[in-house]
Symmetry: C2
Subunit: 375 residues, 2 copies
């Protein structure tokens, strides 16, 4: 039986382990919290720091393969493990590119992949040389996650809001739609593309409101999204599961925003709505099985369940029973022991052939359900 | 967080735990094999004998609720736990009836539920008083499982094949179809019925060939199946998840064959084909959530993956990659460390709107896949 490790024990690890139980595989997880969502669904749990060389190396050295559920891992250790024959999904070389937003942008540029214009800053004062990029989005080269490490700079007068650090300054695109595409690459380089999804944001909170599958985009835009997403992953020359986030602008041009080299929030709907889920697909890749079917069974909407503002502590899911009465909704609670404002605590997927039903249910779920502290 | 124990750690436990990870629940499993399919997907695993009073009592006494994945458990311990306030799904009183095939038949009789004519035998010689029931099926009162403890007796000349033991002798019904219905009963007695499935048997091996959902039966038979199944569970007066197996005879009359008071092989297709799977449904019942939606998303066929004759030892799944190429098939391998002839090692579900596609794929899967010993 293949021994496969997962670095990170959050909800992505949890859902990977739910899918792993359909296959013959010995699962191992490392995370620094032995009450994390994935801790009790694996064969072996190791408490350790995924950013520490020794911890990652010692965890991986007796395994056949390793994958990640977060990019922020010790890549040096993964490179050493790779040189010793452990298969890493994705390859550490991909993690080096993606973990650093400067390298990531340079990768797109070097490979002719459309992405917004940008400049690399070493310090905040350099922003004055790049007024033509404003309004822009400044992103820290390293350390950002889930909206942190990102700052919008409208003009030079607001440049003091920016980070005085190694970062990338990206010209803002006039976004018509935000879409994402999950792509699988097997060990022979064969690819399979999921139908792109459309992400609908709450502009005030810069938080995902809901996510529709398939994206409502014209055929010519779909083709661009598919071609660009495939170009992103093909040039990595690495097996794995990838999520490419893209902007569609007012001219229907397509730009890559960011890529995640792992199972991703934008693929959660695939658990019930598709023949092979993103989690099932990654196991097929790692275990050397044929790629799965990316087609959807029914269109879907996915809503994240987020910790309410002003609430920290043991979570209580108010309105959950009302959501569980919705007859085409699937509930996923991640089992986190603590809620915090903005923390991803679960997600709900709704299946329907009617787009209006999907949007209606998504809004209803957001109204019904809130995560508060129990005490 | 509710603490819920499962007695038994086989594939049913495994699939219950996959579904539990969508909810807030602390899972406990007891089984005498710490490498059983469910051992590493629960929060706490306890090695113990589910037939032993002390083991079951000690396992259950600190839990909020208990359920089973096999009937053959220590009911005395469950009764004591119930009297001390632990909720048991199903109630021990139901297990007493179902575990003993004599009591089970008497229950049907007492509650006016149609079932084949029968006699209760204390010893084999009594069979001569019941010639009018032949050809018949003799079933041991206790201890039978998965086809064991069952003997067909065509006439008195073959009566020596029978069991010289406490048993039930059931007149053979001229079967047109075998169907099964999964029924959920919540803590308030509210019920939800899944569409009945049709079981197609290999007559030579007396093994399930494949199972179709929904059953292809006329409306008037469907109504009888639904009414009879509901009558079976209503009279138990117990929350839980039940599988009622029924015969439809040449006159379209309906007879209960057996009932299982737990998640069941005949409900595996609900994982992908239905909005709420049988496993999801049992958690909803135990956790006090609303009952789920029993409707199917698509029609389905389910094929068991059985250990091949002549093969014992570490399993090897020959043809698995060919099955994984079928674009509407879902694979479940139970992770058992040893295969044996006839042992249930996994199952495959196929979804399709086309019945011919389902039957074609079921037969294809049976041709492609075999479980042999690796060495």
């Amino acid at each position: 039986m293949l021994k496969v490790g997962i670095l990170g024990g959050g909800q992505l690890g949890r859902m990977l382990l739910q899918a792993a139980a359909n296959y013959q595989v010995e699962t191992h997880v490392m995370e620094n919290d032995d009450e994390c969502p994935a801790a009790h669904l694996c064969r072996y749990f190791i408490k350790g720091n995924i950013r520490d060389f020794d911890d990652v190396y010692n965890f991986g050295k007796s395994l056949d393969a390793l994958t990640i559920e977060i990019e922020n891992v010790n890549i040096d250790a993964l490179e050493k493990l790779e040189s010793e024959g452990v298969k890493i999904y994705p390859k550490p070389s991909v993690l080096r590119i993606i973990k650093n937003k400067v390298y990531q942008k340079q990768y797109y540029l070097e490979n002719g992949i459309p992405t917004s214009e940008f400049a690399v800053l070493q310090s905040l004062k350099e922003i004055h040389q790049w007024e033509q990029l404003l309004p822009a989005v400044q992103k820290l080269a390293e350390g950002g996650y889930d909206g942190r490490g990102v700052q919008i700079i409208d003009d030079l007068s607001s440049s003091h809001l920016g980070f005085d650090a190694h970062s990338v300054l990206e010209k803002k695109i006039k976004i018509k739609k935000e879409v994402a595409a999950i792509i699988a690459v097997d060990q022979d380089g064969k690819t399979a593309l999921y139908p792109p999804v459309e992400m609908v944001f709450n502009k005030d909170l810069n938080l995902l409101d809901y996510q529709l599958c398939p994206a409502d985009i014209p055929q010519n835009v779909l083709w661009k999204v598919e071609a660009v997403s495939l170009a992103v992953v093909r040039n990595f020359k690495s097996p794995g599961l990838f999520a490419v986030e893209l902007f569609v602008d007012q001219n229907d041009d397509v730009f890559v925003n960011e890529t995640a080299p792992r199972v991703h929030n934008s693929g959660h709907h695939t658990i019930e709505a598709h023949y092979s889920s993103q989690f099932d697909m990654l196991w097929r890749i790692i275990l050397g099985h044929p790629l799965g079917n990316t087609k959807y069974i029914l269109p879907s909407v996915m809503v994240n369940v987020i910790g309410s503002d002003g609430h920290s502590g043991e979570p209580k899911y108010e309105g959950l029973n009302e959501v569980l009465k919705i007859d085409n909704a699937f509930v996923h609670i991640y089992g986190k022991h603590q809620t915090k404002p903005g923390r991803k605590m679960g997600h709900i997927t709704v299946l329907s052939n009617e787009k209006q039903d999907l949007i209606h249910k998504a809004n209803k779920i957001k109204q019904l359900l809130s995560v508060v502290s129990a005490s």
